[in-house]
Amino acid sequence: MSGSERIPLSRREGGSKVLPELASILYQFGTNAAFLLLSALGLIVILGMMNIINLAHGEFMMLGAYVASFAVHRGIPFPLAVILAFFATGAFGIVLERLVIRRFYGRELGALVTTWGISLILAQGALLLFGPYMPPIPIPGGAVSEGVFSFSVYWLILIGISIVLVVALTLVYRATPFGLQARATMQNPSIARSLGIRTGRVYMLTFGLGAGLAGLSGALLAPATSIAPFMGQQFVAPAFITVVVGGGANVIAGAVGSSTFLSLIETPVSLTLGTFYGTMALLVMALLIIRVLPAGISSLGARLRPAVAR
């Protein structure tokens, strides 16, 4: 930022190069965790609440990025474009749920194949309609530098947004009437219906929320990548790894736990050996966790809870 703010650091020169170094490691860790979390958010809502493996997740993210790109290049400010991406992709998700997805409830394999088909149609459709790439969105915000280290302001904001999204999502599920109905529906749909809860509506809104979150994340990550029909693929693997490692006992907490844990491993390896080995370390770690805790990190909490209650 401004020169005056940097003075105190340079005064302490020699004494503590540790501070910016630590900050840099934390920053790397934060961006890695934020990337995993943002990639996974929409997926976990749909998987955790509806037990549907949404193979079109990456394409929902692509849709969000496309909406944002359109909007930004028509003069709409980027933050508004991101919100627009959320609502547009969410609305698209709701339409899709009403027309197609709802016919496959209780048939997990059917839903899997269907969402796969949707993902192909969306990616090929985007290619046909808009060509091989979209105009990029410039990264907002510039960079802050501390000595040899530089931090992208935008990624710092993304870290903050990830935290806000997790808190907001938790509040929606813990503290709103919709959240109550969604949790009841998830635990026992027949009983929920026999209590007058319109489970069809809950599923529709949940799918819309999951799709909207995917679109939101796609828009948020769009400036950091090239916006193209098949861009979704790069998010799908990290998203699924985060979800599987997180487990189903508490999907939101699980995703937070697994994205934190995985980036705790990935970051130091990336910093010392390079990003390729960082990604390798992440994959190996994911395999190990799934081996040791087949029900994911969140099952740890579920195992501890009865002990606490006693």
């Binding site: 109550l180 109905q181 949790r183 009841a184 635990q187 026992n188 027949s190 009983i191 929920a192 219906r193 026999s194 209590l195 007058g196 809860i197 319109r198 489970t199 009865p306 209650a309």
Partner: protein, 233 residues
């Protein structure tokens, strides 16, 4: 006329279980359905609330034909259903379980927490506890309270004494009697516990192989002999 079931048939892929059931609840009071294991008592309850489709016959609530209504809409038009096995949301708190019942009866008024806490004070004390950690009897009372909190005018109870200790069965009996007297509730109860049936029921239909084979009035029920005979295995 609160509930009117006419010539109802329903069942599973393996065939019809209910072979044409007719019964009515005219107003406040408790009507029992008794019978041995596997005669179709739960099937009848699930068909009335709509979790199983009727293959033939009609179900009317306060005169309205609801045979083609969804389960949600039947609950919202005033039916509180307490399934066999209680149907808890075990990972939700007692309070959240109660809150899920607010749409029974349509959800137009605020949930009646005072009413259910008055009958079952432990629900208030244990509001923050996970429902799955309650004892069987407490879960049964929570399931009943959850079905009641939205203000239904008909309660469907499927074996509330199942897996519940005798003292709590008595408590549930007293509660039902009071509910009918002070609130004018209509209750359809499936029960195999002779004591509970004798205590609360005005009239009991005996189910056998999906048909009502006898209907016992007040005297015959309190006599107990006949009832025990119909329930004996």
């Amino acid at each position: 006329m609160i509930l009117e079931v006419n010539d109802l048939r329903s069942g599973y892929a393996t065939g019809d279980v209910l072979q044409g059931i007719s019964l009515t609840l005219e107003g406040p009071g408790v009507i029992g359905v008794v019978g041995r294991n596997g005669v179709g008592k739960t099937t009848l309850m699930r068909t009335i609330i709509g979790l199983l489709p009727a293959r033939q016959g009609t179900i009317r609530l306060r005169g309205e034909d609801v045979t083609r209504f969804s389960t949600e809409d039947r609950a919202r038009s005033g039916v509180g259903y307490v399934p066999q096995g209680r149907g808890m949301f075990p990972n939700m708190t007692v309070l959240d379980n109660l809150r899920t019942g607010r749409f029974v009866g349509g959800g137009r008024h605020a949930p009646q927490f005072d009413l259910v806490y008055g009958y079952f004070p432990f629900l208030h004390q244990r509001a923050k506890q996970l429902a799955g950690t309650l004892s069987g009897g407490q879960q049964e009372m929570l399931a009943i309270a959850r079905a009641l909190i939205g203000g239904p005018d008909l309660l469907l109870l499927d074996e509330p004494s199942d897996g519940v200790q005798p003292s709590i069965v008595d408590e549930i009996g007293d509660f039902l009697t009071d509910l009918v007297r002070t609130r004018g509730m209509a209750v359809l109860i499936v029960e195999q516990n002779v004591d509970l049936v004798r205590r609360v029921v005005d009239c009991a239909h005996v189910l056998e192989k999906g048909r009502i084979v006898a209907t016992l009035g007040g005297e015959e029920i309190r006599d107990g002999e006949l009832l025990a005979e119909h329930l004996a295995i």
